[in-house]
């Protein structure tokens, strides 16, 4: 295992520039192009009567920041899951975790329609925790030897189940319109207040992610190795799961279900930066994930101009071929984690 820190460090150092460019592009372009000058004015001396300024402050900026954050959350939680389960297919959407959140939000909208945003976020967190427990619990009881593919199949199937139940409940209690707002990843309706509320949870999730990163690296080498190296496997797994639940739950609460980011980005990071150490993979995934989703979001505005395309369609365009490539090259069996 060669360990060269220069390449990942360079990438990490360059990423803020790329992110800044992506964010600026995301603010400029849309169904109405806004010149750079008025963006600067909107930020520095805001004029409430100017329509452009209003758009920038209340629509474009939250959207750009939100899609960056959500991309980062999903990518980090995907990276952690892949490391912990040593499963190259693990990711929030494939393992049905996002569906758990949608399920809980549906329940919440039915039982307590007027609950606050904070309550929504907490329900969403509980939902992702619930599906983590169900998927991993079932996996442990069904498969004696857990291959990556069987876990993925189980997760997808459970996800289908949870989303079908949500759809049925939503129809029955006639809240399906509100639900489809959550379900169909709509980045353009991000609420700035919701983003602010979500930040403490996200910070906690990211902090845990960085703290466990070192141990996850060892877990990714195999449980025997990590136990031999003195890692408290159970505790680390629990902490990692907590971080995954926090990040995924927040992402779903903010923008609904967005597929493929959590699967794709960590692999891209491993390919480009050639690292196996999760202390690099986690921050790089955050940067790349944010960048990826911001750009996908930008693309979604032009695919069907002047209408918007759900960002899930754009992520799927990149995600599906890559997914097929992964299945094909890595096969169905258990693999040692190699980069």
């Amino acid at each position: 295992m060669k360990f060269k820190a220069t390449l990942p460090a360079l990438l990490l150092a360059l990423s803020p520039v790329a992110i800044l460019i992506a964010l600026v592009l995301s603010v400029i372009y849309g169904s109405k192009a806004i010149p750079f000058d008025s963006i600067r004015d909107a930020l520095l001396n805001f004029d409430p009567d100017n329509v452009d300024h209003q758009i920038v402050r209340h629509s474009r900026l939250p959207r750009a920041a939100g899609s960056f954050l959500i991309g980062a959350f999903l990518a980090v939680s995907g990276a952690l899951m892949q490391g912990m389960t040593r499963n190259y297919l693990a990711s929030p959407s494939i393992l049905g975790i996002s569906d758990g959140s949608v399920f809980a939000i549906t329940l919440c909208m039915i039982i307590a329609p007027n609950s606050s945003m904070l309550a929504m976020i907490i329900y969403s967190l509980l939902g992702s925790a619930f599906s983590v427990i169900v998927v991993f619990g079932l996996a442990a009881s069904i498969f004696s030897r857990l291959s990556p593919v069987s876990l993925a199949i189980l997760g997808t199937v459970i996800g289908t189940f949870l989303s079908s139940v949500s759809a049925a409940m939503a129809t029955y209690f006639q809240v399906s319109q509100n639900i489809s707002f959550w379900y169909n990843a709509r980045l353009h309706q991000l609420d700035p207040d919701m983003i602010k509320l979500a930040i403490p949870f996200a910070v906690a999730g990211l902090l845990i992610a960085m703290l466990v990163a070192k141990s996850v690296t060892m877990l990714s080498l195999g449980e025997d190795v990590s136990t031999g190296l003195g890692v408290k496997t159970a505790a680390i797994k629990l902490a990692t799961m907590a971080s995954v639940v926090l990040l995924t739950g927040i992402a779903v609460a903010l923008a609904g279900k967005i597929g493929f980011v959590g699967l794709l980005v960590p692999h891209i990071v491993r390919m480009i930066a050639r690292v196996v150490d999760y202390r690099w993979i986690v921050p790089l995934s955050a940067a790349f994930g944010g960048l990826f989703l911001t750009l996908c979001d930008l693309g979604s505005r032009f695919l069907n101009y002047p209408f918007e395309m759900p960002v899930g369609v754009v992520t799927a365009i990149f995600g599906v071929p890559f997914f097929l490539y992964l299945i094909r090259t890595k096969g169905g069996g258990m693999r040692e984690s190699k980069s």
Binding site: L89, I142, F143, V149, V157, F161, A168, N304, R328, G331
Partner: protein
């Protein structure tokens, strides 16, 4: 391979048909407003027909029931064929992306006929299953190409490739439907969620030929399907023209699925569960299990449609969602049982 037939085949078939008749009776008499048996019989036998009942029975309830039965039969048989050919008990047309492939092709077709689909012409109705077949074949080919590695088809890789292709194809469908005008979109949205809500006789006529041709072809090959359960070499040694027969069977299976998708959208899991239930009831021999598959499939779709129609009244829930809610626990249960055997 030692699962013995539990119970007599003829009795089971009769019971199944009886249950279907019962379900049909229930679906005919219950609904937005109840009709008594006497009136149903009168309407069907044309004794003093009442135009109101005529409308409800012939234009709304009967076509829907016929489609539910046909789609259930088709998906059940297609599932058995696909499981038999791939030798994979977890294969299902929906999970393998064949539904999605047929769906995309039909959406493409509707997309290019924008605006003209409101008046349902014979041409468009008859062409939809054909397009579905093209799409289904395309999806099957893609899945085969991607999952085929080192000269063999690994069951799990096959499933996962199917899932990936399915999600990609549904993204394309979504993309196209969003570019349609809102009236067409409405129609496609209802259709893709797996609903037989807007059944009518033209649809039934358009898929009947497929059933009439493909089901006999498949049934005539039940012996081949039995032999395919052996490994390739043994099957070859008893004289099966392996690749050719596999090809014919797969093609017929995909044809059936496409016909079903063209009228009912994506109803999943029927093709997965029906064959398993049938096998448990009458054993492995396809001569007996295929008819039972058809009966079980028809029953499941009828029941799901009935539940979706009445339980949440006045809103209707697509049959596809009900099937998924019932189907997933049984899928997990099947996985559990496989572990016990392995």
């Amino acid at each position: 391979m030692k699962v013995k037939a539990r119970g007599s085949f003829a009795v089971l078939l009769l019971v199944g048909l009886g249950l279907i008749a019962g379900m049909i009776y229930v679906s005919l008499t219950n609904g937005e407003f109840d009709i008594t048996v006497k009136d149903i019989v009168r309407t069907l036998l044309r004794i003093n027909p009442n135009p109101d009942y005529d409308l409800v029975v012939f234009e709304f309830r009967l076509p829907r029931i016929v489609i539910a039965v046909l789609v259930g039969m088709g998906l059940g048989i297609a599932g058995a064929v696909i499981q038999g050919v791939t030798r994979n008990g977890l294969a299902d047309p929906g999970m393998l992306g064949i539904n999605a492939g047929a769906g995309v092709a039909i959406v493409v077709f509707l997309y290019f006929y924008q605006g003209q689909i409101r008046e349902i012409t014979w041409f468009s109705v008859m062409a939809m299953p054909l397009f579905g077949l093209l799409g289904g074949l395309m999806a099957a080919l893609m899945i085969y190409l991607f999952a085929w590695k080192n000269g063999r088809l690994e069951p799990q890789r096959l499933l996962l490739t199917g899932l990936a292709i399915a999600s990609g194809l549904s993204a394309i469908s979504l993309f196209l439907t969003l570019r349609m005008n809102s009236q067409d979109f409405e129609m496609v949205a209802v259709w893709t969620s797996g609903s037989i809500y807007n059944a009518n006789w033209k649809y039934i006529v358009s898929i009947l030929p497929w059933f009439a041709v493909l089901i006999p072809i498949i049934y005539a090959r039940s012996h081949t399907l039995n032999l395919l359960q052996l490994d390739d070499d043994s099957a070859r040694s008893v004289g099966v023209q392996l690749e050719k027969q596999k090809g014919i069977l797969l093609l017929s299976g995909i044809g059936l699925v496409s016909a079903c998708v063209s009228v009912a959208g994506g109803i999943g899991f029927i093709g997965l569960i029906a064959p398993h239930i049938a096998r448990r009831l009458v054993g492995q021999a396809h001569q007996r299990s295929l008819p039972i598959c058809a009966v079980v499939g028809a029953l499941l779709v009828l029941a799901a449609d009935f539940i979706g129609k009445t339980l949440f009244s006045p809103v209707e829930l697509p049959a596809g969602i009900i099937v998924a809610i019932l189907g997933v626990p049984s899928f997990v249960f099947l996985l559990h049982r496989r572990k016990g055997r392995a």
